[in-house]
């Protein structure tokens, strides 16, 4: 189809330009960092240059440590975020759709929301010991709240006319939940997930620092404790990259295939005021 070719071509070119612009920001950061480290002349323990960090990265890859740490962290992260999301969505639905549950439990939820994860961690260690149970419990705790509050707001702002339309078409409660409420709050689930899954890194790092002997969080704290600052920075960069991958490879395509396609959210292109 020769007619479509220039169009497709334009699409790819556009994406390429967008990616190039995104990479420019990161490149500028690295160049400034390298220049800063070289010019300042401080010890690499105090302020490692990108080259030092790269060497640390290669060293750990060679020894096979990094792979093990990364896989351990990924496993904890994915399971924790998944369970935390389920808990967040579930509690939000219960609070948002049931008066009686809301009356009894809403104050409790608010109370626990204020108690930050670093306060819980020592208690979890006492209860569950050092290891996966403590880490996952902490992650669930960290992830669930932002999702819970976002989904609750989503339920409250969902136009009631959608529910009424479904009821007039004969929907049961379960059908209303599945066909109306859940898709209707998907934008809120995505927003809550973005915040919760971002917060999960905080939870993971401090949990691994205290309750684990492997993982990216362990690497970051262990590196700093052993004057291997370059290793610490490898851990930090991996966190940043992980999030970019989650965002670009999973969240964005998911949004494009759902809420964006449905017209529930707009794109930056549509919003741009010329």
């Amino acid at each position: 189809m020769p007619v479509n070719k220039p169009f497709l071509h334009g699409q790819f070119a556009k994406r390429g330009i967008k990616a190039a612009k995104g990479i420019t920001g990161i490149a500028v950061l690295f160049i400034a960092w390298q220049i800063g480290a070289s010019v300042s002349g401080v010890s690499s323990y105090f302020f490692p240059a990108p080259v030092d960090v790269y060497n640390a990265f290669r060293d750990m890859m060679h020894k096979g440590i990094l792979e093990v740490y990364l896989l351990d962290s990924l496993y904890r992260y994915v399971v924790g975020v998944f369970l935390g999301s389920l808990v967040g969505i579930g509690v939000a639905l219960a609070l948002g759709l049931n008066k009686a549950i809301a009356a009894v439990f809403a104050p409790l939820v608010g109370f626990f929301y204020a108690i930050v994860e670093s306060a819980w961690l020592p208690v979890f260690v006492i209860w569950f010991g050092y290891g996966i149970t403590t880490i996952l419990t902490l992650l669930i705790f960290v992830v669930a709240f932002p999702i819970l509050y976002n989904v609750l707001a989503g339920i409250q702002t969902l136009p009631i006319v959608y529910v009424n339309a479904a009821r007039s078409l004969g929907a049961t409660r379960w059908q209303i939940l599945r066909e109306v409420i859940l898709p209707g709050v998907l934008p809120s689930i995505v927003t809550g997930f973005r915040i919760g899954a971002g917060f999960a890194f905080r939870g993971l790092i401090i949990a691994e620092a205290i309750a684990a002997t492997s993982g990216i969080g362990f690497l970051i704290f262990d590196g700093a404790a052993n004057k291997q600052t370059d290793r610490t920075i490898v851990g930090m960069i991996i966190m940043g990259l992980l999030w970019l991958i989650i965002e670009l490879a999973y969240l964005r395509p998911f949004e494009r295939a759902t809420i964006q396609k449905w017209g529930l959210v707009t794109t930056a292109e549509q919003r741009e005021v010329q």
Binding site: P159, V161, Y162, N164, A165, A166, R167, S168, L169, G170, A171, T172, Q175, E179, V180, P183, G184, L186, T258, K261, W262, G263, L264
Partner: protein, 263 residues
């Protein structure tokens, strides 16, 4: 189901509808002391100035809100909530944004557990009827206002309710399409047992469609007049109706009743 011709399909007995608002001590009265019977397979049209309570009355019959005083019954039974027996075409369409036009139109059938193939077939028939055959794969936000309205009509028709509650369903469509839809609606109504409760701002539309036209006074809405449309169905041809003297007389009368109040 057994249709009892003696029993009114809808009976509204001395119903008042009030909205309570946190900011005001007094509830806001939208509909006042309405008593009304709609017989099975009747076509009742409601007109009245904006804000007089037409949508509120419709919502109460649909079961979305409970009247403060009086009662509303369907087939002699108190209405206790919405149900598939009363299909609603909403003033603001209420199509689900996350479903394609086809899936929106087949939604009621899905709720009944009909298979995908079966409900798609029925949905397509109703889309064709409403002139939307080409739009089945689109999402509501990709449709024009008039197309959304037609999709909403198709969705209600496809579900084959006993009563159709239609809130200005053709307000956003062009004159040509509107005439087609009006004729189709009358045809469907004649071929089935369906009872229609139809809200409109167009007096011409009211006379073309209705067996009776109910005029509500400005808010709080009370029944101001009930006008029998005594033009035979076979004489109600959209292309010549305008020059029918009886039509003109009814139009002038109803317009006067509505305007008296709006002023």
């Amino acid at each position: 189901m057994i249709v009892n011709k003696e029993l009114p399909k809808i009976s509204v007995d001395n119903a008042s509808i009030a909205y309570t608002n946190q900011d005001f001590a007094e509830p806001h009265l939208a509909v006042k002391d309405v008593t009304l019977e709609v017989s099975a397979n009747e076509f009742l049209v409601v007109v009245g100035p904006s804000g007089c309570g037409k949508s509120s009355l419709l919502a109460a019959i649909a079961g979305f809100l409970t009247p403060q005083g009086g009662s509303i019954k369907l087939n002699g039974k108190q209405i206790e909530g919405p149900g598939a027996d009363r299909g609603v075409v909403f003033q603001d369409y209420a199509l689900l944004p996350w479903k394609t036009v086809l899936d929106n139109v087949g939604l009621g059938l899905k709720f009944r557990g009909m298979s995908k193939a079966e409900r798609d077939k029925i949905a397509r028939e109703h889309l064709a009827l409403c002139g939307l055959a080409d739009a089945e794969a689109k999402y509501p936000h990709q449709l024009s206002g008039g197309m959304r309205q037609r999709a909403a009509v198709a969705r209600t028709l496809a579900n084959q309710p006993e009563v159709m509650l239609m809130d200005e369903p053709f307000a956003a469509v062009d004159a040509q399409t509107r005439m087609t839809l009006q004729e189709e609606l009358v045809r469907i109504w004649q071929q089935t047992e369906v009872t229609v409760f139809f809200v409109t701002h167009s007096v011409e539309e009211a006379i073309f469609l209705g067996d009776r036209v109910m005029v509500l006074s400005s808010g709080p809405g009370e029944i101001k007049a009930m006008v029998d449309i005594d033009i035979e169905r076979k004489d109600r041809d959209l292309s010549s109706l305008n020059s029918n003297p009886r039509f003109q007389a009814l139009r002038d009368e109803i317009t006067r009743l509505v305007r008296q109040d709006a002023a």
